[in-house]
Structures are given as structure tokens and as C-alpha cells.
Symmetry: C2
Subunit: 598 residues, 2 copies
């Protein structure tokens, strides 16, 4: 299996030139110390850790998987030690709150570190990802007492966190949730119910696990407005901070899954022996609201997983294609070349490369907006960035994960028959990727979020802001007399035109034809993803052209960036036309379909 | 897991109305007995066998896999018995030669039977598929003596066959093949070499296995013109037909694969103990030529696998979507509906359905052409049908398999989180599908075959024949005043226009820009697949509209057919525009890419 090498040059390019990282540290006081130099140092260390410690465990973790024993879940060999080293090096708290021993780095930088961790070992990355979500929840809505007991240990990774939403009958539809919480005289609650699909719901890496659990109070209204959020530790914590009694929250089985074998996916039973002790977080009946606050980060994180797997699969396929000799050069007839010389293999490699780059750029740009939304000193800037970031998040999540599945599949294809053999490692990325379009909201749910929450809530104002940015980009591209940039400008304009037309179609049909809008949602998401990718690739090409014109920096890198953007324009942006047609066809065909026709 | 139900009504519609099955039996003397009534009887029996015997073993076979023991490879529990029943019922020889106890049924009918077997249990189907290929090879090039010893036993399935092409250094590029054959004084040969990826290379279902092996004679020219084909039985056969000595051909390992776990994929060592006894088939150095004769059928068979998996995944997802309750009706607000009522789930189900239907129609039509090419009394008809069938075969193989991978992925998506759990069964179809775009020639190789062999060898004459057929279809559609048919006509015309333009681009660039043509090949294949699917869906819609106008037959079925064709036109045919742009962009972007840019 090939080694993973973190694409630091590319990451820094995207951070600096597209996401405005230097300007972030210069203008946002909270991030004053996060200078480009510090970012360099952090990314280099993270890259060493990802390549040296996490990547070598990836295939092994897939093969061994997790086991449920009488003492709980055991992780694969080496997992516990790797996790300890991960926490000791401070990676768990890279973006965590400074008040609780976190490093408080901006999301833009944190995203690059997290990408490395996900590329190296997706199953491993999920524990810290869930813990990070739980930390955000506690910061948002826990009492000072609970914060004092739990937060620092979770930020440092001494304890991990979980998110307990799903129940057998309640997946995408949390209104159907049945777990219940009974108030006790001492102000605590007893939690009862069964939760499924709980990532790292049990494991042997830490002494304690902090479960965040959605449940209903006895007097709660029906539906999503009657759900509260509780903190349920695996072990109760004594007043002196030492661990007390084992709580009534147990892993009763783990799933046999298509991928992420080393990430334990647990069925957790709460209250089978009298009730699990839980503590209410924030106010009663606002649990879902608190969850949604964290949703942006969680969805960014899952979008990133698709990108990270795409990057790893690309590196793997490239290494194989550079070694594997098969066939003559199809043009020169030169005997026995490595397969990376065949036009169709080069096409697939470039498709992998440019799609990963486009998705990464959108994600990092969105993270830069989130950083400004949280911490910019100017309120208008905060608001404007929040609107744009929230618009982009379903695009990062839906687009990054669908891309990840497609790109890891191309990775297998480049391997030929060897790609189908598990020892090669290429298949694992594809299997692992397959959950990403499902968890934290399926692609269909991302599409609905994009249309009904992000696009329509402000009457299209944020969309118009983005259309304006894309327009600026293609117009600037068109002013530069390089044929590559002209081609990119032309396709970006075509993509934007169909994005605008399709957006107008949605607006016109929202009230009169909601079934049509719903049927068109995923195509609209695909369209948005494709054009936003072209926008960022176009911006990257502009920077590269400037640098080349000025004779600055790494010529090879900037030429590659222009080639990649041109490839995206020629080979990916035309899909926008098809997606636009698909949107505007609405449900004309589906309307003919009755249940008995399936 | 849902049961598999063979889609007999749909199969008969495609056979009768699109592939001209009744006319085949009426005009081709060889198939005079293959009447529609007989086809009904055969398909009903095959459906019972597939659903009742093979389908229940599918998940179990995936979980158990095969084992290599000291005595050779063992198949999963129930495999041996199912194979015995399969052969006893005569399914192994359904299209086999009548002279050797085959049933001599047309490929069109055989394809429907094989689709059922593949849908029910892909791993199981591979043994008979490979045996069938070996039978075709023996019919083509074996001596009468060898035929007398081996053919009947292989046609009935008493012995299975294998195809030994690949070696570690020789996959797509068979010129690199190194296995060798040493002539012996008695006219036999001793075979030496190692072969990999040998499907059913060893197993415990039959007493003997007949390996067909590509190897080089001592005086053979280098490259593909120096490869000969040998028959190497696992056990030598005595003059009286009884089994003799164990031959020096042994399975030394089996692969741990992403899918088709129950199909043993073997590394076979020939001659480790002095040489495996082999018999030359046909003339020396013509081995690859004989293999190519069988290639058409083999590629049809693999394209069919994609279709069969797509069908099974569709049935599975539909059954789940009809049971799973989640969410309110998005339009009426009605509480808690089954998810098949949600527009995005309906969109995915229809996309699965129409894509499977389109691919199936192309495959069955191509099989009908093959039947005429082999057995039509008129030489011109034979020739015309052969040209068209050969043009369509890379479209069936490349298109059917890529579709299969995409459609089985949609099947997982419809299941949500449950799709990622192996016990659900949805993931297996996706895993199993992933080999189909690779073996028997990758999608890239299909694309090259389409362009360099099928399109260009006759200067585009066959392509123009097909363009004419598509033109007739959209023109006829346009004459019928139903809005659905008008919409189909419009998109079919648009798809054809871009197919024609892209074909002209290829012709114009073939000599001046071969790297551009090679880079465009897979996009051209995708374009051809998309338009050919629209052509067949358009033809189907025409038949359905006629039947509805005449008040004949099953109204529900014909209305569903029109809805499905309309959905394909709205949601799939627009992709042709993007593929066309991608073709005509050629290698403009790739030409900018140097090796150091990856």
C-alpha cells in the first residue's frame, strides 16, 4: 500500500490564496497568533503524525475491526496507543476552546489538520470528530458546573464524546424519537431507551465516555419540539473528579458494516437496569435546536471526509499507475510503458485530482467564512460570512461526499483487477466513503437544506451574493489572454447561467409545485456543487496566472493549477448543463408515476 | 432481505417488442421451436429456480466465502447441491450446442435466463458463465477427439471450464504473457506458468475442471501473435472416459476480494511438478484470435451482470422504501408516510428502474442481432446484424456495468444508514458490481474497442446505420400527439445530434490527434450508452402508446413504460450533452499536463 503524504503545498495555497488565511490572522484578534508561519509549523507536525502513526494502522484496522466483549468494545491493535499519542500531541484540541486547554486555532487551519487525519485513517478520525461535536454542544448549552467537570477532559481527549440521536424507528425523522427522561428529586434524570448507529459508543481507548443523548421529558410536546438533550457519562464522576459508579448505559451490540470497520458503531441501551443517570443540557425541549447549532461543523467534517478519502485514493492510484507497466504508448508505439502514460488513465487521474481540489477549495473557503462569522470584529462581516458559509455547508457536505465515492471508485478502476483485491487497499477507501453520503444527513437532506433553508429563507439574497462572486471570477478570467483561462471563463459563465436559471425555476415553483422542487433538489445540489467548484478552480487559476506573470513562486505548481482548472472546466463543468436541465424538468416525469408502476 | 422476483413481464416485453423474438423463431429455422409459448414456459421455470434455489444462497455465500484446503477449494454450504440441481434442470446448457446435449436456445432467450441467475446469485452464475465460454472455444477450435471427450460433459455442467489468461505482469496487455508450452513426442504439451484471477479455478462442485490456458510455444513470435490456446484438465481422462491421473495444475491461493466472495478467484500454478499435460486447441499461435471469438459473448454476459445487479438492487430498495416509515408527506403534510412517497426517494427509484430498463433493452436487442448474425438464412441479414451487434457489445458491457455500479449505489442510498449494514444485503450488490467494470476488459478498453474496432473499421458505416434507426425512432415519436412522447422525441433528437457531432469529431481527429481521441474514448462510450438507452426507451414508449391506443394488454404496464421512458428522457438523456462536450474537448486540458504536475 502506498504511503500517505499530506498535500501541504496545496493546502497552504488554498488556505492562503482562496480562504484568506493570512488576512484572517491579521484582522481577527482571536486569531492574531495564527500566523502563516505558525500554520506551516502545525501542518508539518500534523503531516508527520498522520503519515507516521495513523496511516500505517488504516488497513490493519479495516481487517481486524472492533470486537464486543463482556468488558465492552475493543479497538484494533495499536488504536489505544495511537489515540494516546494523538491526544498528547494536542491534536484533539486543535480548534478547541482555549479556556479548556484547547488550542483555539481557526477552523481553516483545523480543517487542514483534520483532512490529514481523515486521509490517514478515517475510522480513527471519527472518535475525535464526535468528541469535538460534543464539546461544541457543551460550550453552547451546558451549565458551568457540567462544563467544569467534563469540558477540559473532552477537549484534551482524555474522555471521548458521542452523539445519540438515531433510534430504530427514528433516523432522518427525529420527530419519531421515543427515548425518555424521568426527572429525579435531585435534579438529575433517569434516561431510558435504545439508540443505534452510535459512533464510538463504546471502546477501550479512554476511562470514560460522555454520551449526549436526545430524549423526551414526560410532559414534552409531541414531535421535534419535545426533544431535550442530556449528558449521560459512562461512569459517573465524583465531586473530586474521580470516576464513580458505572452508569446504566451499555453497548449491547456492534454493527457489521460495509466500511469504517475500525470505528465501532454501537447499539446503546440506556436504563435497562433502573435508568441511566443523565443531566439536562440547556433548557428542556430545545435539544434539537442545540444539535442544529453543531450541525454546521459536523457536516463540514463529513464533507471533509469525502475530500480526504478522495485525496488518499488519488495518491494511491497515482503511485500504482507510475509503477504498473502494461501496454505500449498508444501514440508513439513505444514499448511497455507505465500505465500513467495512457490517455485514459491520465484522464482518470486528472479527474480525481481536479475534483478533490475543487471540493477542498469550497470546504476551506467555507471554513474561512465560518471563522469570520464567529470572530470577526465587524458585525456586518460576521453576518455576511455566516450567510455564505451556511449556504456553502450543504454544498461541502453533499458535494464532498458524493465526489469522494466517485473518486475512490476511479481509484479502484485505475488499479484494474488489483483494485478488487482487498490487500491492495484501494477498495477500502471506496467502502469507507459509502457512509459519508448518508450520515449527518443524506445527500437528499443536504439538498433540501440548501433549497428550503439556505436558498429560500432570505429570498435568494445569499445566492445572489454568490452569483456576484462567480460573475466577478469569470469576468476577470476573461480579461486574461491565456487560452486556458478563456476556456475556464467560458464554461464558468455557462455553468453560472444555468445555475441562475435553475434557481429562478425553483423560486417560481416553490409555492405552486412543491413536489417538483423536491424532486429537483438533488440535481440542484449537484449543479451548485459543480459551479462552486468551477468558481474556486477559476479563482485558483487567476492566482496562478498572476504568480506566473510575476515570475513568483513554484512555476510547476502554478502551471499544474491552471491545467487542473482547465481540466475541470472542460470535463466537469459541462455536467452543470445536464443538472440544470434535470432541475427544470422538475417532476414532469415523476407526476406520471403511480405506486403500482414501480 | 427481500426476495428476488424475476421481471418476466418486462423481459417478455423487451424480447418480443424490441428484440423481435417472435419474428426470430418464425424466420430462423434453427430457432423454429423457440416459440413465444416455449419461452414463457422456460422463463417461468427459470424464475422459480432462481428465486427458490439460488437467491436464498446469495447473502450466505457472501458471508461464508470460499476456503482453500489441502484438498483444494471448498465452496459455501449449499453450493454443491444448488449446482447439481442447476445442471439437472438443464440450465447449464440452455444455449449450448444441441449436438452435445445442449438445448440450442437463442441467445435472446438465454440472456433472460442468465439475467435471472445473475440477479439471484452473481457468485454462483460465474461458474456456468466461464464454462459456457470454454464450450464456445472448444466448438470453435477443438479437434473432434477433444470435442468427443470434453464437450458434452461441459455443456451439461458435469465438468466446469475456466479461462486462464491473466498473469501477474500481463493483465489488459496479453502481449506480456510468459506461460510456456513444451511439445512432447506424443503430440501433447507440458504447460508451465502461473495464472492469476482464475474464476472457479478450483472448487468442489464437480469431479473435473477443464482449464483453457494461453501459453507460448518455444518457437513462438513475441507479442500477441505468439500465443496459443491449450486445454489442460484437472484430471486426465482415460480412453474409456473415466478419470485418470491428477494433472500438474494446482490452486495455490485464493483472493480476498471486495465482492463476489462465493466465487473462488484462484492463483493456478501449472507445471510446478514436471509440467501439466495440455492439448493444443486449433492452430498454434492463434490463441488470442480464438479468445476474441468468444469475447463478444463473454462481454455480453458481463454487461448483463450489471443489469442483473441493478434489477436486484432496485427490487430490494423498493421493498425497503415501501415498508420504512419516516417523515411526513412533504406536500400534503400527512403524518408518517412510507419513504417511497418522498419525491427524492421516488426520483431515485425511477432512476434505478429506467436505467436498468434501458440497459436491458440494449442488451436483449444486441442478443437478438447475435442470434440473427449466427443463424439467419439470409447472408446480408447475417452480416448487417453482426455489424450492429458488434457495435453494441462494448455499449452493453461498458454501459451495463457502469450503470450497475451506480444503480446499486442508489439502492444503498435509499436504505439510509441500514444500507451500510451488511446484514441488510444492499451493500453486497454494490460490492459485487465493482468487478464488472474491470473484468473481461475495463470500461476504458470497451471504449477503445468501440472507437477503434467498431466505429472506425468500416469508416462509420455501422454507426450511420444506428443513427438512422435512432432518427426513425425520434421522428415517429414526434408524430404522436402525447406530450410524454413529444418530450422523449425532443431529448432523443438532442442526444443523437450530439452523438453525431461527437462521432464526426472523432473521425476528424483520428489521425491528427490520436491522444485526443483516446482521452475522449470513455466519454464517447458514455454518450453512446446514453443515446442508445434513449433509443430503446423511445421504441418501448412507441409500442406502449400503440397498445394503449388500441386498448390492448396491460394498461398499467404500458403507462408505466411511457412514464419510465419520459423519466429517462428528462433525467438521463441531458447527460448526453455533457458527454458530448467532454468528447469534443478532447485532450485540450490533458495536453497541458506533464508528469510532474500530478
Amino acid at each position: 500500500m502506498s504511503d500517505y503524504v499530506a498535500p501541504i503545498t496545496e493546502m497552504r495555497f488554498v488556505m492562503d490564496e482562496l480562504a484568506g488565511f493570512p488576512e484572517l490572522s491579521a484582522t481577527v484578534p482571536d486569531f492574531a497568533e495564527s500566523t502563516p508561519d505558525m500554520a506551516d509549523a502545525i501542518l508539518e507536525e500534523a503531516a508527520k503524525f498522520a503519515s507516521g502513526v495513523l496511516a500505517p494502522l488504516n488497513l490493519l484496522g479495516d481487517q481486524q475491526g472492533c470486537q464486543l466483549t463482556a468488558d465492552g468494545v475493543t479497538t484494533p491493535a495499536g488504536w489505544k496507543e495511537a489515540y494516546k499519542a494523538f491526544c498528547e500531541a494536542g491534536w484533539n484540541g486543535i480548534t478547541g476552546p482555549v479556556d479548556y486547554s484547547g488550542h483555539g486555532q481557526p477552523a481553516t487551519l483545523g480543517l487542514a489538520v483534520k483532512e490529514m487525519v481523515c486521509s490517514a485513517n478515517l475510522s480513527f478520525s471519527l472518535g475525535p470528530l464526535l468528541t469535538g461535536g460534543a464539546v461544541d454542544a457543551l460550550v453552547t448549552c451546558a451549565s458551568d458546573e457540567l462544563k467544569a467537570v467534563f469540558l477540559e477532559k473532552m477537549v484534551t481527549g482524555e474522555w471521548t464524546g458521542t452523539m445519540n440521536l438515531t433510534e430504530p424507528q427514528a433516523g432522518s425523522d427525529l420527530a419519531l424519537l421515543r427515548s425518555r427522561a424521568e426527572p429525579q428529586a435531585d435534579g438529575t434524570y433517569r434516561i431510558f431507551g435504545q439508540k443505534i448507529f452510535i459512533t464510538y459508543g463504546d471502546h477501550d481507548m479512554t476511562d470514560n465516555i460522555v454520551h449526549l443523548v436526545l430524549a423526551r421529558l414526560p410532559d414534552a410536546p409531541a414531535g421535534v419540539r419535545g426533544i431535550s438533550l442530556f449528558l449521560v457519562p459512562k461512569f459517573l464522576v465524583n465531586a473530586d473528579g474521580s470516576l464513580g459508579a458505572r452508569n446504566d448505559a451499555h453497548c449491547v451490540s456492534i454493527e457489521h458494516k460495509l466500511g469504517i470497520h475500525a470505528s465501532p458503531t454501537c447499539v446503546l441501551a440506556f436504563g435497562d437496569n433502573g435508568g441511566a443517570v443523565g443531566y439536562l443540557l440547556g433548557e428542556a425541549n430545545r435539544g434539537l435546536e442545540y444539535m442544529f447549532i453543531m450541525m454546521n461543523e459536523a457536516r463540514m467534517g463529513v464533507g471533509l471526509q469525502g475530500i480526504a478519502l478522495g485525496e488518499r485514493a488519488y495518491q494511491h492510484a497515482l503511485a500504482y499507475a507510475r509503477e504498473r507497466k502494461q501496454g505500449r504508448d498508444a501514440v508513439t508505439g513505444e514499448a511497455l510503458v507505465t500505465i500513467d502514460q495512457h490517455p485514459d488513465i491520465r484522464r482518470m487521474l486528472m479527474l480525481m485530482k481536479c475534483r478533490v481540489e475543487a471540493s477542498r477549495a469550497i470546504a476551506y473557503v467555507a471554513a474561512g467564512m465560518m471563522d469570520r462569522a464567529h470572530a470577526h470584529p465587524d458585525a456586518d462581516e460576521r453576518k455576511r460570512n455566516l450567510m455564505m458559509a451556511e449556504f456553502l455547508i450543504p454544498i461541502v457536505k453533499g458535494g464532498g461526499t458524493e465526489m469522494g465515492t466517485e473518486v475512490t471508485s476511479l481509484g479502484i478502476q485505475i488499479h484494474g483487477g488489483m483494485g478488487f483485491i482487498e490487500e491492495t487497499g484501494a477498495a477500502q477507501y471506496w467502502r469507507d466513503s459509502r457512509i459519508t453520503t448518508i450520515y449527518e444527513g443524506t445527500t437528499g437532506i443536504q439538498a433540501n437544506d440548501l433549497i428550503f433553508r439556505k436558498l429560500m429563507r432570505d429570498g435568494g439574497a445569499t445566492a445572489r451574493l454568490l452569483f456576484g462572486e462567480v460573475t466577478d471570477t469569470f469576468k476577470t478570467l476573461a480579461t486574461i489572454e491565456r487560452p486556458e483561462l478563456q476556456a475556464i471563463a467560458q464554461w464558468l459563465k455557462a455553468g453560472l447561467d444555468t445555475w441562475v436559471t435553475s434557481t429562478e425555476w425553483l423560486a417560481a415553483n416553490a409555492k405552486s409545485n412543491p413536489a417538483g422542487v423536491l424532486a429537483a433538489a438533488v440535481s440542484y445540489l449537484n449543479l451548485s456543487v459543480t459551479v462552486c467548484g468551477g468558481w474556486q478552480m477559476g479563482r485558483a487559476a487567476l492566482v496562478a496566472a498572476d504568480k506566473l506573470a510575476a515570475g513568483e513562486g513554484d512555476e510547476r505548481f502554478y502551471k499544474a493549477k491552471i491545467a487542473s482548472a482547465r481540466f475541470y472546466a472542460d470535463q466537469v463543468l459541462p455536467l452543470a448543463l445536464a443538472y440544470g436541465e434535470s432541475v427544470r424538468a422538475g417532476n414532469a416525469a415523476l407526476a406520471l408515476v403511480t405506486d403500482d408502476m414501480f
